[in-house]
């Protein structure tokens, strides 16, 4: 019973502490597709990711977001996750007192729903297998969630969680920052194993390098809290070579940050 998921964002506006940051975002991500969002610092990329996941700091002031036709904005953060949304965060939190493995099992069971819990042994076998595939030492299962993990270890742990939770739409916010070259390849391979019609991906990145490993179907550029240009992977290559100035010139944008947006 395979279903092609669809995340549909239309006219999304969001503010933080009264300041508008997202100024009308339109984007649709379907299963099987890989979308990349690029854009200079401070243009609203992480804000889009956080707003989609329901971070309490961000007030959505206009627009719609649906997942398979269901109103995402009406759901709590946990409900969004259980509905199939996943966000690999730019800065994952550290939580002591709960082991990484126990946390993932609780999350997995929450996603599967009451009565469908995964047997403990089966869970651990799967966890070990996936840790191995991502070159994560098994001792990281027993360590407290992200506590004292290096930047790169945290990123790998985000991907581990994603592969364990099997979301239908995942958003990866700068998953490549802080990863060394080998880790980048391993993480990208991990992501690629998930690619299938039941899984859609939205990748936020500054670097074309990640997109050499995870081949995007669409590339979007965000400036002033909006998507200002969309294209194929050649757009990413052009940005890598020439920077953003040519695009700003074409669009008549002087200051690309959200501060300047109208």
């Amino acid at each position: 019973m395979s279903m092609i998921p669809e995340l549909k964002i239309s006219g999304l506006r969001a503010s933080v502490e009264g300041k508008e940051i997202l100024k009308g975002v339109d984007l649709t991500v379907r299963g099987g597709e890989v979308h990349a969002i690029m854009g200079p610092n401070g243009t609203g990329k992480s804000t889009l990711a956080s707003s989609l996941m329901g971070h309490p700091k961000y007030d959505v002031t206009a627009g719609q977001v649906t997942l398979n036709g269901e109103d995402v904005l009406a759901m709590g953060v946990d409900e969004r996750a259980r509905a199939g949304l996943f966000l690999a965060m730019q800065y994952p939190s550290e939580v002591s007192g709960v082991s990484n493995a126990n946390f993932m099992r609780m999350a997995k069971n929450a996603r599967l729903g009451e009565g469908n819990e995964v047997p403990v042994l089966k869970f651990h076998r799967e966890l070990l297998q996936k840790m191995k595939a991502l070159s994560i030492d098994p001792t990281f299962g027993e360590r407290y969630l992200n506590e004292g993990f290096s930047g790169g270890e945290k990123k790998r742990n985000e991907i581990l969680q994603m592969t364990m939770l099997e979301p239908s739409i995942a958003i990866l916010d700068e998953i490549d920052s802080g990863l060394d070259i080998d880790a980048l390849r391993i993480v990208a391979e991990g992501v690629n194993t998930l690619r299938k019609p039941e899984f859609g991906l939205l990748i936020i990145t500054h670097y074309q390098r990640l997109l050499q490993y995870i081949d995007p179907d669409y590339v979007h550029v965000m400036m002033q809290g909006k998507i200002v240009r969309s294209g194929g992977r050649e757009l990413a290559e052009k940005l890598e070579q020439n920077g953003y100035d040519w695009l700003k010139d074409e669009l008549g944008i002087v200051d690309e940050t959200v501060e300047a947006g109208v």
């Binding site: 709590g76 996750a81 996943f86």
Partner: protein, 432 residues
Amino acid sequence: MSEVMAVSALAAEADAVFRARHEPESMVALRSRALARYEELPVPQYEKSDISRRNLTAFATHSDERASAGTTQDWQTIAGPYLDENGAGVLLVFADGKLVSERGIGALPDGIVVEALLDAVGKRSALVEKLHTVVPFDEDKLLALHAGLWRDGVYVSIPRGVTFETPIQIVHVVTRGGAGSFIHNLYEAGEGSSATILETYLAAPDLADHLHVGVTEAFIGQGARIKVGVVSDLPRRMTSVVVRRALVGRDAAMDWIVGEVGDGYTVSEIGSRLVGQGSTSTCHAVVLGSGRAHADLTARMVHEAKFSESDTTARGVMQGHAFGVYRGITHILKGASGSNGQQAEKLLMMSPESRADAIPMLLIDENDVKCGHAASVGQINEEQLFYLMSRGISEAAAKKMVVWGFLDPVLAQLPVDSVRGAVERVLERKMK
């Protein structure tokens, strides 16, 4: 509310009771001296805790009197969750002052004494000399009242050189309110001895107004290592005022462990007088306030000797309408050079109606010492909550996880597994 019973009536009433109990003359004399001061001494004053607004006359001169009849729970129901059924070690359970269950007393190694303090004093009148030497009764009105009326509590003596590691657990349950509780514990640890004692205080949730004034005095001999855990879960209409103090000898170590989880009104002071050179003391406290709890906890470490060390840490979580105050007092007296006193306290407010205050105090009368403190009061970390919930975990479960993570640094230091287990079980049950 706190009109006090006329001293003459109280003393006469009490005197008759003690004589009928055939207490040693010196004991009866100590009680009369204390009761003679009761009226004149001031009600204890605490910043942030005005106990004069509580019912301080909810007691009787002896425990059979004035107990408002009836409770919906027997002691087994109340104590059940706190007892380690499979545990080894000594267990004494007192309900309304009467011994209702005991385990392991017969199998105690030679020389170790664990018995009701009243019995102990009856057998060895020399013990009276020690009473109220670490916690003087003339510090305030309630201590004087306690010295005059104490009737429950336990005497533990660990002889010189004896190591007894299985915890000695003493449980006090109040099922009938109104009569008041006056619990006095006296611990003596001989030179080089080692032991762990766990005191647990419980009461029926629907208890009527009830005053508890408690004292624990501990004498820790040279090189001895003693751990005392205190778990207390007291209900709304209980007012509990307790002082626990140890006199720590040369190179000895005294560890206090506190788990305060009730919704009653509690004011407790716990700590050590470091009187022996090279002595050390720690206090690790976890406080979870629920309902309309008022939890006032002071950890007091007094450095009187050279090279003495103390370390106090506390983690408090206030939910509902709870109010928590934590005072860390590190006092280094002149002459206690080379001493080191550290304290760290963190309090968390879980609801808009809860309140918490952390008051660190360093009183230093000596130059050549080390001292440090870190205190914080705040709300639950929103980023952590968001992170956990973004993986599908419900808000309630995520909050619990964050709170566990917050308490963990102190829980992990609780030196006895069974103590930690008991505290964790209670926290799990009480956390909203």
